[in-house]
Amino acid sequence: MNFSQHLPALIVVVPLLFAFVMPLLARWRKQWCVPVTLGAIIFSFAAALQMAFQVMSTGPFSYYMGDWPPPWGIELGIDYLAAFAALTINGVGLLIIWFGSKDLLHELKPEVLGWYYTLYLLLMASMVGIVITNDIFNMFVFLEICAIASCGIISIKESRDCIEAAFKYLVLSVLGSGAFLLAVALLYMVTGHLNFTFMAEALPEAMVLYPNNLLVAMGLLVVGLGVKAALFPLHVWLPDAHSSAPSPSSAVLSALVIKVYAVAMIRLLYLVFPRELLGIAPVMEMILWMSTLAIIIGSMFAIVQDDIKKMLAYSSIAQIGYVFLGVGLMSESALVGGILHIFNHATMKSMLFLAAGAFIYGTGARKLSELKGIGHTMPIPTIAFCIGAFSMVGIPITSGFISKWYLALGALDVGRPFFTAVILISSLLNGIYYLPIVVNAFFSKPEEAVPAPKQLPREMLVPLALLSFGVILFGVYPSLILGIVYRAAQLLLGL
């Protein structure tokens, strides 16, 4: 009984426990809130790192909660994808809340700061829970925690837009969860199991007897998780929710939360449903077209936005399309590209949102037209924004290029160069809306004299710098994470 054996449970439970004590800390030891939050996430990050090493060295492993073997108890399954996603979530989440520890001071009322950290920790724990659990009902529970917590970190800001956006998000999230639960019921009815592995074993037989059931269940799952992951045309809630929230919330929502649902969908579609079922119903084809539309239309909408955060939010819709494009193409390279893009987009989009947050912190400007000349007054966030923008466009030596490379290659692998063209066109669209901002930031003069921006504290600069470093590092040296992504894709495809 050693300690590291229990990491899969601890990685979820420790942040939960710290979340439970956070309100107390907020009451009596306000200054402890930030270090405790950071500590909990650092612990999870270390645990995820350890788990990733373990997975890479000894292969996927599982953990039985309370020592009850599946199918009776709940099993946590740490495979490559889960370890990779847990690592992404905790790594990016850590940097975001580190940035937030200063940024939130001016966005939130002081009396709700403690609650913010509570919600944030719960959100982190639930996201990790979603990706590592191997039990579908357990996943549902974590989905609900995740949904409420992510609405909570929107509605915490004192603005009526936030309340409205949170409500819209909550309603659609609950609809999604409802569809998910109904799908769970349908699957349980025909398999008698909740555990992924056992369900996957029982499904081929059930498919013969109850094909309708399974198709409806699959449709409900795709719709339910698609709503949460903002897959076009189910994205209606996203622009408001992501743009009105406090900047760290926007960052975590865009960078991580929608990706977690994508991971859940990948696991369900690839690991649980039999491959023949995918042959009967053109689900993958549907996902492909939905993601194509997401990529094109998300980018188009982003072009016409004037609010920087709204633009980033629409861009997220397009980027989640990339992930699903990789899922739908069902070739190894494409899946690698899709999974890799989960990480790459998490780093770049959180960086972009944090940079936008830094602009808002420094100057109060949200409109793109107000950001002219910002490069001279706030160089570091602007450079970070630049790198993020280049990565979005897919300029080589940034990480965005690598995921585009794999996605494009995957599309060619299955003989569909059309989707390669889609990726390229959307890169062009990305360029059309990102690059003018960069250009204006450095080469335009503001129309009227603006007061010098507030100096950014180190807590905000360092995460930005780290994220930009990460984007470049993983663009130049992608093999750091490519190993685990490759294995994840191979495992999912059964290669």
Partner: protein
């Protein structure tokens, strides 16, 4: 020594990059140091390229793989005779431009931005020429295109920003087209390395055709190929003159270089001859020549006229590529040299005029030859060479190109070249005539004694060197650029080994 030799390409690319950072830090303290460092960097780069000469002329191909990004996708360097020729040319002109910039830029704002950008563009340009695979080429190509944006919008005027925006969008389109081509090549050939013993794509297929078109768009964009030239006449005039000289003189050539690489290394000459896809290139090249030359006549802004002239001249080069025989290829590579010398001379001379008189339009240039005889003399030399009058190098390259066209049995191309030369004459000669014999514009100047008002010598020397080389390389029957072109053409037709 072996190792050092193979490390030299990396050094040539990395040295200016590192120096960019150094210059960036030095320039906060001393402007003199900054200028000196910038010039020193370009000189050292030029000398380093020159150091490759013995090895390359001996037929050696230097290959060096820096590191792998993905399996079969590495950043690697490779120097053969073609790379060497173009790298030599570029670093030479870069050196002259850097010297020229010292006095030209001292009255401009934002020098602290100009010099690091100038040097890092040199680095990326060297990277393009020394790239060992298409991926590296692409990386440096994108880098150069994006960074030279800063040169284009240097003046930060509304027109500059507008032209820059156009340039940026076109650059991205070009970059993505290249990306498409490269990824198809990777898919079909399994690798994008240029040192593959056989061409990467051997079977004609729809995908291969897509890739060809993408490469054509990607590189043609940079080379100012019709109909993708639209950014060029806007972007080149608005940049500071030394930067225009580089944009027109060197950076356009990277597109031509890329096309050469694609045609000879990715597809191979037999493939091209079989499929006849180069006809597309020939057609657009002819249109480019005629259009560029014709539109240039209507332009009144001097630098804009020069920019359109560049479009026309790039058409020659593209035409030379499409003919696919040795003499055409030789003429084509030699024209890369010639045009670089001529167009840099012209732009630098135009810059000197703008600096001293502030006159940008041709109608104001009457009598300028009496004010700045030296500059205008150099301008005349280059312009005559442009028209293709013997014994300038422009004539030699056109002559060789025409021979190539005759070899290939298309005298039509020769006709095109002649028409274009005529058009060139139509738009260059009036400038020269007006400059030397025309009346000065403006009031009170008529009977005044014309004061000689030349640019500082640091600007004149580069102009002089370039103008003299236009004459020299046309006059001497065997000179370095001509030999290099000949060897490079032979080398390419052998299949690049």
């Amino acid at each position: 020594m072996q190792f050092l030799g193979s490390f030299l390409p990396v050094w040539i690319v990395m040295f200016p990059m590192v120096m960019t950072v150094v210059i960036y830090y030095v320039e906060q303290r001393s402007e003199k140091m900054r200028n000196a460092l910038a010039v020193a960097t370009s000189v050292v780069t030029f000398l380093s390229v020159l150091a490759l000469y013995p090895g390359v002329m001996a037929g050696k191909i230097i290959e060096f793989e820096l590191f792998q990004i993905l399996p079969n996708l590495a950043v690697s360097f490779r120097v053969d005779i073609l790379s060497f020729s173009l790298a030599l040319l570029s670093s030479f002109i870069w050196m002259l431009v850097a010297i020229y910039s010292i006095d030209y830029m001292c009255k401009e704002h934002g020098c602290n931005r100009y010099y690091p950008v100038l040097i890092i563009t040199l680095a990326s340009c060297m990277g393009i020429f020394m790239a060992g695979d298409l991926f590296t080429l692409f990386v440096f190509f994108e880098m150069m295109s994006l960074i030279s944006y800063v040169l284009v919008v240097h003046e930060e005027t509304i027109e500059a920003l507008r032209a820059g925006y156009k340039y940026l969008i076109m650059t991205i389109i070009g970059g993505l087209a290249l990306f498409f081509g490269i990824i198809i090549t990777f898919e079909l050939g399994g690798s994008v390395s240029l040192s593959n013993p056989v061409p990467l794509i051997s079977e004609p297929s729809t995908l291969a055709f897509f890739a060809f078109i993408s490469f054509l768009i990607g590189f043609g964009m940079k080379a100012g190929m019709f109909p993708l030239h639209v950014w060029l006449p806007d972007a080149h005039p608005v940049a500071p003159s030394p930067a225009s000289a580089l944009l027109s003189g060197i950076m356009l050539k990277t597109g031509a270089y890329g096309l050469l690489r694609v045609i000879f290394h990715v597809y191979g000459i037999e493939f091209m001859q079989e499929t006849g896809w180069t006809v597309i290139l020939a057609v657009v090249a002819v249109i480019t020549i005629l259009l560029g030359s014709a539109v240039a006549i209507t332009q009144d802004n001097l630098k804009r006229r020069l920019a359109y002239s560049s479009v026309g001249q790039m058409g020659y080069i593209l035409l030379g590529i499409s003919i696919l025989n040795e003499r055409a290829l030789m003429g084509n590579i030699f024209h890369i040299f010639s045009h670089a010398f001529m167009k840099s001379t012209l732009f630098l001379a135009a810059g000197a005029i703008i600096l001293k008189t502030g006159k940008k339009n041709i109608k104001d240039l009457g009598g300028i030859g009496r004010q700045m005889p030296f500059t205008m003399f150099a301008f005349t030399l280059a312009a005559l060479s442009m028209i293709g009058i013997p014994p300038f190098n422009g004539f030699l390259s056109k002559w060789t190109l025409s021979l190539g066209a005759m070899d290939a049995g298309v005298p039509f191309y020769v006709l095109i070249l002649l028409i274009s030369s005529l058009l060139n004459g139509l738009y260059y000669l009036p400038i020269i005539i007006a400059a030397f014999f025309g009346e000065e514009q403006g009031e009170g100047h008529k009977h005044e004694f014309v004061k000689i008002n030349e640019a500082p010598y640091k600007m004149l020397i580069p102009i002089a060197i370039l103008a003299v080389s236009c004459l020299l390389f046309g006059l001497l029957p065997s000179n370095l650029p001509f030999d290099l072109s000949r060897v490079a053409a032979e080398y390419l037709l052998r299949g690049g080994f």
